[in-house]
Subunit: 335 residues, 2 copies
DNA sequence: CTGAAAGCGCTTACAG
DNA sequence: CTGAAAGCGCTTACAG
């Protein structure tokens, strides 16, 4: 790589100090009352030499990098991919660059990413925290590192967050299934103490109770790292017992894996089994019949997260909690 | 944010110079023959003060950031999402962080991203270049900026690249469709001069020719920013004329959009229309019947790109071209 | 074995 | 209106 040209090179060529160059190139020529011809000359020479500012140097000096770190569970999951895209665009709009890492729902990976991003002096972090990973998050909060938790959060830690109204999401979906005549409704959830999961389960449970179906409440749990086999087993059971009339999936991934199993067993939806999925996916459209689902406002979630974070970076002390409304998209799979 | 502790703080507390601290914390204590107790003390104090290195300062001094910039067409497209994930993992493995941007197949966005990443002193770039965007790429190459083009490249510019054998991909898919008795085969492609598109078209054309079907060659083109309506129109025509027996899709996105239209028209696949998709997607599994497709070795593509780039960053001058083999996954949609 | 010092490329108070 | 200089937090040749 050819030697990069610095402000010094420009300063030398024009015959002024680097201070002037800095002022002019940062648009402070008026504020600092730099003379017109000097300013013009500096601009001209900068262009001639094809000057590119070194933001690393600037960052070191200013103590801010205009970079935000984004930690999601898995960037290859379209839910997070779409979220990342929104975040990238909004951040760019506001002059920030984003560096991305995938935690695989694993706390030690999350910590490694947080450390690495902090070493790189990100101005703030947007994180979908992993299970049992509250300590490092608390640490960030206590050190006043600008932070927004997204999708999930820890009620015991005071941080900004933007999440779905998870309780409302499954409550309304369960209600909908009941209205369609289902009573033996099960929710398929991750085996996780994370807040969003617990709230989704609670929404289901409370809706069942409210409809006098407390006895039918049953939560089928799936481990994050063996979704396929666990779901397979659940659907097998279901297929053998024929005691269940409806299934409510509590994430995107669970829905899709479940749909594979349901299709393989040739279960008739919704007659033999009614279903409601989560998040939305092209597969929901192609499944026979099209799958009803709980839709998250991804765009809003991404944009809000970025804005909230940048507010915090700008020094706003107030902690903000944003809870977004889900939308139940009813199609034929739910009866 | 509490004031960060620096090497100076450690040096002061231990009573040595920052040079020693730097040596010890970078594991050069042996090479620089630092005495045992000093080394131990430094480690101890570093831990006590919870010292975190400032990589920005290090980067400024060393002139390298251990960061790579990745520019894809759209991170929310699962094809790129999966690629990004592989790249992230491989980069992390090798001690690099990745910053990501989406170009939307738009040259000026690409340029903006390149500039921003370069200002941030990335050590190198992995890019899926946009149409007509050869000039900025040539610029990078001429300035010896470590660079790997991925998925597509410009034959006229000498750069590293890792791509699919696009010609072989569509050649074999077309051959397969012909072997299944189809003659009126059309390819659906983007209206793009980009190399990968041209090669996919060429593979189709040559396979047709080789089978005496030169007269049947017809390429249906779709604009990137109006895929849905353009494809809708193509399928409409097809539906009215009933003159086409098979469709070969040349990307992931095109396949999925096409499948929506085909389904809406209730075309019987493969009897009324045989199809072969590209890249693979869950939708291909749920479509009735399951869709045959050309599979790209994503894992390999991502890993190779990172390794190639890091070799180049490490000073390797040799230009490398890697061409990966596609795999035709035959299912029921192709006859 | 260790320290003093320069320097990476910026920004910014300070002085004139 | 402009310049000399300090300093962000590191690394590293140099000298002893």
């Amino acid at each position: 790589m050819a030697k990069r040209v610095s402000m010094k090179d420009i300063a030398n060529k024009v015959g002024v100090s680097t201070a002037l160059v800095s002022y002019v190139l940062n648009g402070l020529e008026k504020e600092k009352r730099v003379s017109r011809d000097v300013a013009e000359k500096i601009h001209k020479v900068a262009k001639e030499l094809n000057y590119k500012p070194n933001r690393i140097a600037r960052s070191l000096r200013k103590g801010s990098t205009h970079t935000i770190g984004l930690i999601v569970a898995d960037i290859s999951n379209p839910f997070f991919g779409q979220l990342a895209r929104v975040i990238e665009d909004e951040a760019a709009e506001l002059g920030f660059t984003v560096i991305i890492g995938s935690s695989d729902e694993n706390c030690s990976k999350s910590v490694a990413l947080i450390d690495s991003f902090l070493d790189r002096q990100v101005d703030g972090l947007i994180i979908t925290p992993s299970e049992g990973c509250s300590k490092p998050i608390r640490n960030l909060a206590e050190n006043n590192i600008p932070l927004v938790l997204m999708d999930r959060y820890f009620p015991s830690i005071s941080t900004n967050h933007v999440i779905l109204d998870n309780y409302a999401a499954t409550y309304s979906a369960t209600n909908h299934l009941i209205a369609k005549g289902n009573t033996k409704i099960r929710i398929i959830a991750y085996k996780s103490t994370l807040n969003h999961m617990q709230e989704r389960i609670r929404g289901y449970r409370e809706a069942m109770k409210a409809n006098g179906l407390a006895k039918e409440v049953a939560i089928r749990k799936v481990r994050y790292h063996s979704v396929k086999s666990d779901i397979e087993k659940i659907i097998d059971d279901l297929f053998n017992e024929k005691k269940i009339s409806a299934l409510l999936f509590s994430t995107n991934n669970l829905s899709i894996s479940g749909l594979y199993s349901i299709r393989n067993h040739r279960l008739k939806v919704p007659d033999e089994l009614a279903i409601v999925g989560f998040d939305g996916h092209e597969v929901f459209d192609f499944f026979q019949p099209p799958v009803s689902f709980i839709k998250q406002p991804l765009e809003e979630m991404g944009i809000e997260s970025v804005r909230m974070l940048i507010n915090s970076i700008s020094g706003k002390k107030e902690i903000v909690h944003k809870v977004l409304k889900p939308q139940l998209v009813v199609r034929q799979s739910s009866g």
